[in-house]
Symmetry: C2
Subunit: 431 residues, 2 copies
């Protein structure tokens, strides 16, 4: 099986890459940035092929726009690589240091996860961002992009892998997959691949989760809520709900459901409707909502639906507790925001809402790796383990325990001739 | 379905427990310790029932020994609870604080994972340790112990849940499962259960991994290695290998394979064999080993086998690189130790061996939550994400992003009327 051999090679290289120092990795990143600049005409030419073919195949205009990779986009990804160089290396950080006994020192030190399989949408910039994030964090990577971007992805992967190798990175640390069959084969490689990060449609993410033993990091749904409390500044609340819903509707951190405290609903909902009408947002609501503003009824299914469109479901609630319960029952653990002037209620909301991102008085749309200052993100996770929310470099590492002794054996502690000291060393690992 | 309702209740309670303060959790732990002491006669009586039934059912003597839960064992678990009270609360730690812009503050704060399903062996002390670790870390827990310990587990779970409730912890934060069917039902509860920790036989752990969408933390195999380098102090090496193999053979951190540098093998192997013979350890070896000491041949299967017994496979290698390659090919990513006087080789070994615990000049048997100073462990993980090695309180938490604004919306940054500052606040989260 070809995939078996490919995954094995990436795994082997990833072990060497894991030991690469910050200087070497940054040198490789700089060389990748230079090479992308040097080869930009070939890249643009390849992208033009993809665009022409996709146009013929009637790819919808928004997707064509995402597929386009021109001089400005290349300049953006190159800028992104220089930002990444300036970010701290997430590998080799000492998280814990304990003297277990005289001369027996334990260190918990961050290290790369190993090999990561990433499946991403048709934006070619995703390939550059993901592969360089993996390189900086010392991880091997199997990349599968959208088939519309086939030619662009080929040349980008070639330039990146070639430039990294010229800088001294093991040549097989990254590989490009091209077909859907490759993805299915990859999902069986739990022996070599440590984590799969799928970006794409919900159905596809679910398919991945159901068809692999490899841990999956990502999110299937982004059902985000705004809750407008009785103590909210209503002008602020309108601004936040409008931004959360309409700033970019096609993304996972856009709000899909609005919850409104019954005491301010009569004043707030008509004002909000006016603003949303001007943005052509369709509203559906619970009976109490419909008693206040003329909207279609929301069904049970609406509370569970990620519209990704100019549509918002509205529910009037009796207060904070009902809002929290609704979010925990129907939300997807992604991003939820409360608008309130009451600090204690904000604290309760943030404590009790079981989501990766809990916000007070700001738009759900802030839930993003760039905005959080992570430089870039490989995706947003709604998982409850390893990494939650926008995942940047920190989410691509794990740790090893390193124990240094001088002939220490457990029998001495079992027979009580020695006892453990467990003294915090407050020291970085260094051999 | 009964399990559905039970898991839902534990999930609901877990959300309340997640917001419980350190003081309340420690008060509950102290009350659990007192109640276990108060009820010790009933506990011992219940355990005697289990012992009598299991004896009649011809449970092997080592398992009967593990099942026994007498006054001394109760005193041990009570001591363990008082140690746990003294450990730092893993919840509510600020891991990152960034001012995204004026008045827009992001905090990454640790929180419980949610609901954890733990399946453990017949030792009743495991129930006490696991449930109290979950309580301290704010997690709900579904507990399934060995059926041999049925009566003991029932009374222990009753005492623990009752005492926690009396102290003010939500009553349904923990629940005891009793049958294998319960486990199968639990594995389907990915809606409510966030992590499964199986402790038990390898086959059982694999079964769990293959039959649930819930992430699994644990290890199937513990194929641990000692590598004795040419620069090793041979007396130290014998001591470390003997301890790694024989200090307790039935556990996952016991060594199963010895790798020896060819240059010292002629001197080392006969000396080692003498020591291991006195402990009645059966040796199997590669052809080069057999040219030096009289042992049976090792087959390909031996390098992949966790004996959990007085048996060790031995391979002579050409040096450090072959040792590393062998460990990465045949090991299970658990614990591997190098014995060498050469600091640089130790560093290479620790960098390139892809295991959760990499040791220099000490026994593999140190790989354990108590010995690491974690107070206790819920298990040892060979997973590559979330937590590796012995997992204590730290492995039972994840984090939330908490973002505090004052009407901030993304549109202002998209249209460039505002820009992000991303200034490190070096501040604990506090509302």
């Amino acid at each position: 099986m070809i995939m078996d051999e490919l995954a094995r090679q990436v795994k082997e290289s990833s072990i060497k890459l894991a030991a690469a120092g910050t200087e070497l990795k940054n040198k490789a990143l700089a060389h990748i940035a230079e090479s992308l600049n040097d080869k930009k005409e070939e890249i643009i030419r390849a992208n033009r092929e993809d665009l022409e073919r996709s146009e013929k195949e009637n790819l919808p205009a928004p997707l064509l726009k995402r597929l386009k990779f021109d001089e400005a986009k290349i300049a953006d990804v190159v800028d992104g690589i220089y930002s990444l160089i300036n970010l701290e290396d997430p590998v080799g950080k000492t998280l814990l240091s304990t003297e277990l006994d005289d001369g027996l020192e334990l260190y918990r030190v961050t290290c790369p996860i190993g090999v990561i399989g990433v499946i991403f949408e048709s934006r070619p910039d995703a390939l550059v961002q993901i592969s360089t994030l993996c390189l900086k964090s010392g991880n091997g990577v199997l990349l599968k992009g959208g088939s519309e971007a086939r030619e662009t992805n080929r040349i980008l992967a070639g330039v990146i892998i070639g430039a990294a190798e010229e800088a001294g990175i093991p040549s097989k640390w990254a590989a490009l997959l091209e077909t859907r069959d490759d993805v299915n084969d990859m999902l069986k490689m739990d022996r070599y691949i440590d984590l799969v990060i799928p970006r794409g449609s919900n159905d596809f993410v679910r398919y991945i989760m159901d068809n692999s033993r490899i841990p999956v990091m990502g999110h299937a749904d982004g059902i985000c809520h705004c809750y407008v409390d009785e103590d909210a500044d209503l002008e602020m609340a309108v601004k936040i709900v409008v931004d959360s819903k309409t700033q970019y509707v096609a993304v996972c951190n856009a709000a899909e459901t609005l919850l409104v405290h019954e005491r301010i609903a009569p004043e707030f909902l008509p004002a909000l409707k006016k603003s949303l009408d001007s943005k052509k947002v369709e509203l559906v609501g619970c009976p109490k909502t419909r008693a206040l503003i003329p909207v279609e009824p929301a069904t049970e299914a609406d509370w569970k639906t990620e519209y990704l469109d100019y549509k918002l479901s509205v529910k009037v609630v009796s207060g904070l507790d009902e809002a929290i319960d609704h979010i925990n029952a129907y939300g997807s653990g992604h991003t939820d925001s409360i608008v309130t002037g009451d600090r204690e209620k904000a604290a309760r909301f943030m404590d009790y809402v079981d989501s990766g991102n809990v916000f007070w008085n700001c738009s759900t749309r802030f839930s993003d790796g760039f905005r959080y200052g992570f430089g870039a993100e490989v995706g947003i996770s709604t998982s409850k383990i390893h990494a939650r929310g926008p995942v940047g470099l920190d989410g691509l590492v794990i740790y090893k325990y390193r124990l240094i002794g001088n002939g220490h054996v457990v029998e001495d502690y079992a027979n009580r001739s020695r006892t453990f000291k467990h003294r915090n060393l407050h020291r970085e690992f260094k051999l």
